[in-house]
Symmetry: C2
Subunit: 205 residues, 2 copies
């Protein structure tokens, strides 16, 4: 950000620009949105964009950050409930909330996720990964028997990355080969089967 807004009026301008960024991106996609469009939607002059943002990229960057922060804020309060559920229900619950979140406001965040996963690829989603890792850790602590599972960091990595991508990809697909419930159920089965099999393998020793 080139300059910090100090007056109330300026803060409103910054908000309007970011908001306009979401609207423009949802309408035409990130590549096709111009600075003039964003400025028009926000109701400010083009020059104003550059008072608070280095360039167009930074507007998208701030949008990504807000998206990730909102996602985390959505997940955090779910954690206490989720960690007490059986594994399969826990996954289904989390995925259901995630889908609703992505689709809210005319899929604002779904479109953003698609973009965030594209350009940044790791930069901004990292805090989200961290939150989900935290969720996994807490889940394991609530289910001590699962602590025997090997390779927990690896499986966590796979499920978080693969899971997020599969869901975003699926929701973006206008003609998906499977339903969302099948996908969610599949991911839940994947986790629960892995857990059960691992525990069965370790038990005999």
């Amino acid at each position: 950000m080139a300059r910090k807004p100090v007056q109330q009026r300026a803060k409103a301008t910054v908000d309007a620009i970011v908001e306009a960024g979401f609207i423009a991106m949802a309408e035409r996609g990130p590549a096709a949105t111009t600075t003039r469009q964003i400025a028009d939607i926000a109701g400010v002059g083009v020059g104003s964009l550059y008072e608070y943002f280095e360039n167009k990229e930074e507007i998208f960057r701030v949008m990504s950050e807000r998206f990730v922060a909102d996602t985390i804020a959505m997940i955090q309060p779910l954690i206490p409930t989720i960690v007490r559920k059986p594994i399969k229900e826990a996954v289904l619950d989390l995925l259901g909330h995630f889908r609703d979140f992505l689709q809210a406001n005319n899929e604002r965040y779904l479109k953003c996720a698609r973009y965030a996963m594209a350009l940044d690829f790791e930069q901004h989603v990292e805090p989200l990964q961290k939150t989900l890792s935290e969720l996994v850790t807490q889940y394991l602590m609530h289910h001590p028997e699962t602590l025997k599972i090997r390779n927990i960091p690896t499986m966590s990595y796979i499920m978080i990355n693969g899971g997020i991508y599969s869901v975003v990809r699926h929701l973006c697909d206008p003609a998906p080969p499977i339903t969302f419930d099948e996908l969610a159920g599949g991911l839940a089965d994947m986790v629960s089967h892995y857990t059960e099999r691992e525990m069965a393998l370790v038990e005999p020793q």
Copy 2:
């Protein structure tokens, strides 16, 4: 493509442009490559780009298509060998080849995959998905006992999407939290455990 090259000379020009596209993309990333750079690397005038490509985007599109086609050509001959192996080895084998393929030529295709997954998101990778689905089908036919598994299309969808993304993401990450071998082993365990657990569940009936 605006026009088809009919003479040999023109075909060479088209090839040089696509080749230059790969080089420029590997050096600076897709967003920072200009038409002039591509033209300079290819050793042609900027105007020549537009003889055979509608616009810069189309150059990237053709690159994506070539990448996917090459990936498929890499996988096809592996199928007969892979389908005869135990599930875990089969996955490890496939992933190893995939990694080597992505990293060849100074990671040319890895950089391309990152981009292909970004903008297109489904358009051009679809043939690859199809090839991998075919591989799964053939694998199942060589291991009839696995046909009892439920939700095969769903699991196939998850493993293909989540697997490709996890691997590409991991290879792009300059400081990955786990090693590639751990990732590959984890994916292989994921598949094999799921398979074993599903077969155990269906057996008793």
